[in-house]
Amino acid sequence: MSVKSGNIFLAGVGGQGTLLASELLSEAFLLAGHDVKNSEVHGMAQRGGAVTTHIRFGPKVYSPLIEPGCADLLVAFEKMEALRFVHYLAPGGVVVANTQEIQPPSVLRGLELYPGDIEERLRAAAGRLFLVDALSAALALKEVRAVNVVMVAAASHFLPLPAQAYEDALKLRLPAKILDVNVAAFRAGRELLSPTGGAA
């Protein structure tokens, strides 16, 4: 992704807070003076199903949707969801994936196995892969719902905005009573990986 434009693809499981994550990212880009569009799906898709959000920023954005093979950054809130949508990644693109595993219905019922080779397959498909344990970071703050902000923070290393822009967006979008834990989650998420090396 350049400093001027880029495509960010968020993937997760309904209930993981991908919508708030996309709000925060989009808001941060708008506050920084970019044109920005995002697209998400509500309703049936949220009931524990696979959910995605497309975010695009640049001088002028037309389509709210990212084409397969065109995402500069894939942020996956659940490990298998990274693999499900890795074909959206552009050549040389970055994947930041949560190591958390949530079993889909067929695995819950023992009809299929949760894939054991996700990391290898992601590494083969992605330019750069960063796996982070966002669930443990959120649980350390005693707020499992903060997984989304931890993931935004980890991914923010690869976006052309200063960390302060996201904290500003958090302050604008979140009610006061949950702001502190989310600011702490953001800081914890930033520490989870180093963009020049691997996951910290």
Binding site: G49, S63, R84
Partner: protein, 602 residues
């Protein structure tokens, strides 16, 4: 809502932008029935100062409320999803004849790709059929702008206006510039005018003539006003498009000549002819049906359209590019991973009911709501789902078709809000026509599927104000159902006893499952247990897995792992309860014959 950036722009979804546009237009009365992807329009509009907003029991009522408000001289809004327009079609077609006093806008939100819908109908047909003009924004900024414009035009041309949105408008966000609200030019008050408002045949014949004249005036507006615009470019390719498809066209063919139709109906004939004459190859790019294409062809013009662009599903820039160039882009094929379809939530009360219905091998006439997911395995307990309210009447139809052959087997299942939307009339039909069906009302205290909206059975208004709460037992008795029994669906044993008895009964009966939606804050706040599986006691029989609960996970064993765990080597695995997901509903412990599911000690 978003906070303005340095440039005074805020980030709004299409739905938030329509709500903002209605507020800026000075709308005073808004009514809707929730439906994806339209729901957030009213939720956001209701937050503005000095407006009235309500959830109506259904879309027909919502449009009629808006008609009354318009007649009373205030600007009015009615919003619905595409299938809601079918329910509201009756008042809509005649409101076309009466016209308006205060501006009247009806938002139809289509769902190409059926992200959360039972069909993929194209609401633009309604504009043609009802002779009501339709504006179609292509992003959030236009959603706000066109909403404002629709009110001005509604009063100027004395007509209701449609505003058409689609999922990628409604639930896409973009930068929007806000302005202060205007004061509408019409004075509130009733101006008696029977010839305009009372659609006796003698009045309606006169009004129909006016409607036809109005359409001609609107065509003139479409030609000259700038709502439709030509973006000149390379003359070798000319594309006619509108709505979100315009964005895909600009992305895929930035150099092409484009005729962007901001008004989906009526269409600018001269503009289309001139545009077609100026390009070598003409293509219409539109989602769903060939609405523009049919009109262009009716002008005798040669154009491409659905021969290149799919009629099913939503578009994106790649589909548009490949359709027009005929060249396939490099394949980006998805990796093979287990599917992740949506599922009922952990702790969902519907799961208990459908587990029992599966056990009873009932023929289940289903309806629209979260519980439609019970059609999927492992619950697999729904045999029909057509539209809001159809469960009740279709169950009656099955019973009348099969007589004794169906008795004791068929039940209707319908949510609280859906029953009030259009299930009541079906129940009246059963009682009136001496039917014997069993109707199950799933009362979870909220309209859940669309994201927790209040309804007439929750005791709260859209704004959360206390109001009368419909009593389902009293309502069903008043209709004439003598046998009405509330049950707790988490208690599956008791639910089974009641269902067996009522399904066998030679009279109509209603069973009401009463347990809160697991996502409601009042449920989340309540003290609840968490369960765990004793790995030592679990034999891997999967009896609990048959609930399909997202919290009950499967840990597969190899023969070596089974032996190491002290199990028979043939045991394929054990279940495990994810403590982060367990809601403590208590449905699973009684299913375990080995008492392996225990309340977790704190």
């Amino acid at each position: 809502m978003s906070v303005p950036s340095k440039e005074g722009l805020v980030l709004l979804s299409g739905n938030e932008a329509i709500a903002r546009g209605a507020f800026e237009a000075g709308v005073k009365v808004a009514s809707a029935y929730p439906g994806t992807p339209s729901t957030e329009i009213l939720e956001n509009f209701a937050r503005y100062e000095g407006v009235y907003a309500e959830w109506a029991p259904n879309e027909k009522v919502s449009v009629e409320v808006a008609i009354g408000a318009s007649m009373a001289g205030v600007r009015a809004l009615s919003t619905m999803k595409h299938v809601g327009v079918n329910v509201a079609a009756d008042p809509i077609f005649t409101a076309s004849y009466t016209g308006v006093r205060g501006g009247l806008v009806i938002v139809a939100a289509d769902d190409p790709e059926m992200h959360s819908s039972q069909n993929e109908q194209d609401s633009r047909h309604y504009a043609v059929a009802a002779k009501i003009p339709m504006l179609e924004p292509s992003d959030s900024a236009e959603a706000r702008e066109y909403t404002l414009l629709a009110y001005e035009l509604s009063e100027r041309f004395d007509t209701p206006f449609f505003l058409r949105s689609t999922t990628r408008i409604a639930h896409a966000k973009g930068a929007v510039r806000l302005e202060a609200p205007v004061v509408p030019p019409v004075e509130p008050g009733i101006v008696r005018d029977a010839a305009k408002w009372v659609m006796l045949p003698v009045h309606a014949r006169w009004r129909h003539g006016l409607v036809e004249q109005r359409t001609l005036a609107l065509v003139e507006y479409a030609e000259t006003s700038g709502i439709n615009r030509v973006e000149p470019g390379d003359r070798s390719l000319g594309i006619i498009t509108g709505g979100v498809s315009y964005q895909y066209v600009k992305e895929a063919f930035p150099a092409a000549s484009v005729l962007k139709l901001g008004m989906a109906w009526p269409m600018p004939e001269k503009m289309i002819r001139d545009f077609a004459a100026g390009v070598d190859r003409l293509v219409v790019v539109e989602e769903l049906d060939p609405h523009i294409e049919t009109h262009v062809k009716a002008l005798g013009l040669k154009t491409h359209g659905k021969d290149l662009i799919p009629i099913c599903g939503e578009l994106d820039p790649r589909i548009v590019r490949e359709g027009i160039t005929g060249e396939k882009a490099p394949a980006h094929s998805p990796e093979r991973v287990p599917n992740r379809p949506p599922n009922l939530c952990p702790g969902c009360p519907h799961r208990g009911l459908f587990f029992v219905l599966n056990k009873l091998k009932a023929i289940v006439s289903g309806d629209i709501g979260c519980y439609t997911l019970a059609a999927l395995p492992p619950l697999s307990a729904m045999d029909l789902c057509v539209c809001m309210g159809a469960s009740v009447s279709a169950a009656h139809g099955m019973e009348k078709a099969l007589g004794k052959g169906a008795h004791g087997q068929v039940v209707a299942v319908i949510g609280d809000s859906t029953f009030l939307h259009s299930g009541i009339t079906g129940l009246i039909d059963i009682v009136y026509n001496r039917g014997k069906s069993t109707v199950i009302i799933l009362d979870n205290g909220i309209t859940a599927m669309t994201g927790a909206q209040e309804n007439p059975s929750t005791g709260k208004t859209l704004q959360g104000q206390p109001t009368h709460r419909i009593d389902f037992v009293a309502l069903c008795r008043a209709i004439g159902v003598e046998h009405v029994y509330p049950v707790n669906p988490h208690d599956m044993e008791a639910t089974e006893v009641v269902l067996r008895r009522e399904m066998a009964r030679e009279a109509p009966s209603v069973v009401i499952t009463q347990a809160l939606c697991a996502l409601l804050p009042e449920h989340r706040r309540a003290e609840r247990p968490v369960y765990e599986v004793s790995t030592a006691a679990c034999v891997g029989c999967k009896a609990c897995s048959k609930l399909g609960c997202p919290a009950i996970e499967w840990v597969a064993y190899t023969p070596e792992e089974a032996a190491a765990a002290g199990k028979k080597s043939a045991q394929k695995g054990v279940t495990r309860i994810n403590p982060l997901l367990c809601d403590g509903c208590g449905q699973c412990p009684p299913l375990c014959k080995f008492n392996a599911i225990l309340e977790k000690k704190r």
